[in-house]
Symmetry: C2
Subunit: 221 residues, 2 copies
């Protein structure tokens, strides 16, 4: 059996001012020491229950962010992507509310807008592009965008997140019908957003069964 290097990388995404941002971390060792890259690391066979565990551990150790919504993206591999040798990276997408990143306030983590030209080591640019394309595509027919919001939110807030990801305005009536059809939300009793000039809006949250598991829509938005 040939030696293959086995790593995980995490594309941690959040929405800042309606734009998708990815978390980059200055590398503390060679190769590419000092260069901003995706948080990643080797699988620790002694410690990790599976690759997902490894991704959660790496994220916790390197960014201070614990247990975000996480899903496997794809596996990237080959002899050229890492100067250390033939390597496999099992890549994960993590979604969090912007406040989670602000709260963690990790000094080495920088958020970069994915619409800007990113220059990244390894094949991390391709990994980020794949994650963003997948998120945008899945936003058409799933609850995925909800994980970019906090624990509770109003329907107008949720609609703005969907619109940011789909990069187009959505009709309010049809949006609300689709959310009803997905049946993934429950109202938060007695809580209302202080709504400036508008009357207070109802707050919603994901039903417990959909907090870690995606809700899919048979026909898209």
């Amino acid at each position: 059996m040939d030696q293959v290097i086995c790593t995980v990388d995490v594309v941690l995404l959040t929405l800042k001012e309606q734009r998708l941002n990815v978390a980059l971390l200055k590398r503390d060792r060679e190769p590419y020491k000092g260069v901003a890259a995706l948080p990643g690391g080797f699988i620790h066979a002694e410690e990790d229950g599976d690759a997902r565990d490894a991704a959660l551990r790496v994220l916790r150790e390197k960014t201070g962010i614990d247990a975000p919504y996480l899903e496997q993206l794809a596996t990237f591999s080959g002899p050229a992507r890492d100067p250390r040798g033939w390597s496999v990276s099992i890549a994960y997408t993590a979604l969090v509310h912007d406040e989670v990143i602000e709260k963690a306030a990790h000094p080495d983590v920088k958020m970069a807008c994915v619409d800007r030209k990113l220059s990244l080591p390894f094949d991390h640019k391709a990994i980020v592009d794949t994650a963003v394309a997948r998120l945008r595509s899945k936003s058409q027919y799933s609850s995925l965008p909800c994980y970019l919001l906090g624990a509770s939110f109003t329907l107008p807030q949720l609609q703005r997140v969907y619109e940011a990801l789909l990069a187009e305005p959505i009709n309010k009536v049809s949006f609300r019908r689709k959310m009803t059809e997905m049946a993934m939300l429950e109202s938060v009793d007695g809580e209302m957003e202080a709504g400036g000039a508008h009357r207070p809006a109802q707050l919603y949250r994901l039903k417990p069964e959909y907090r870690d598991q995606l809700r899919l829509l048979e026909r898209g938005l």
Copy 2:
């Protein structure tokens, strides 16, 4: 860095009498020698350009089937799935027309209906279940089912494949509208199927640009 075993496994699917079948191969070595399992093997760092290359090589060497439609499914990992140690399997789904398997006629390959209770070593049952669920779900909004047919086919044949995967009848008019919308097919000049009692039907094939790359539909069938 801890030692992690790096393998690929292929879920080779075909449609036999309107039922999905998976290719199983009797294992020629330990662990599970003599037991039917998915075709798989170690990544050969000296030889394979990436994990996809490894999957194509393994399939060619072990089943005689060359260059089917292939896509990455997911990566399975952990300390318990393989008795040899902490392992990663990058799993691929391959789709072929039934005739391709008949033509290869590999003596060690057996086709098993996925609707039957399959008892498989490692976590191969979970891998097959994931592949089948993904294929069925993607059939709702993509050209994926086309790869289960030969190079050319009639629209009624294609509709029967979609119906088999979605496990429900599809309205003929709406099916044809969706196929037109996907714009992935071209007619094959001058060729018609000998159609028994019916008048001959036009034959179609995938446009060259969609023979290796999936065509997606914004709104499902």
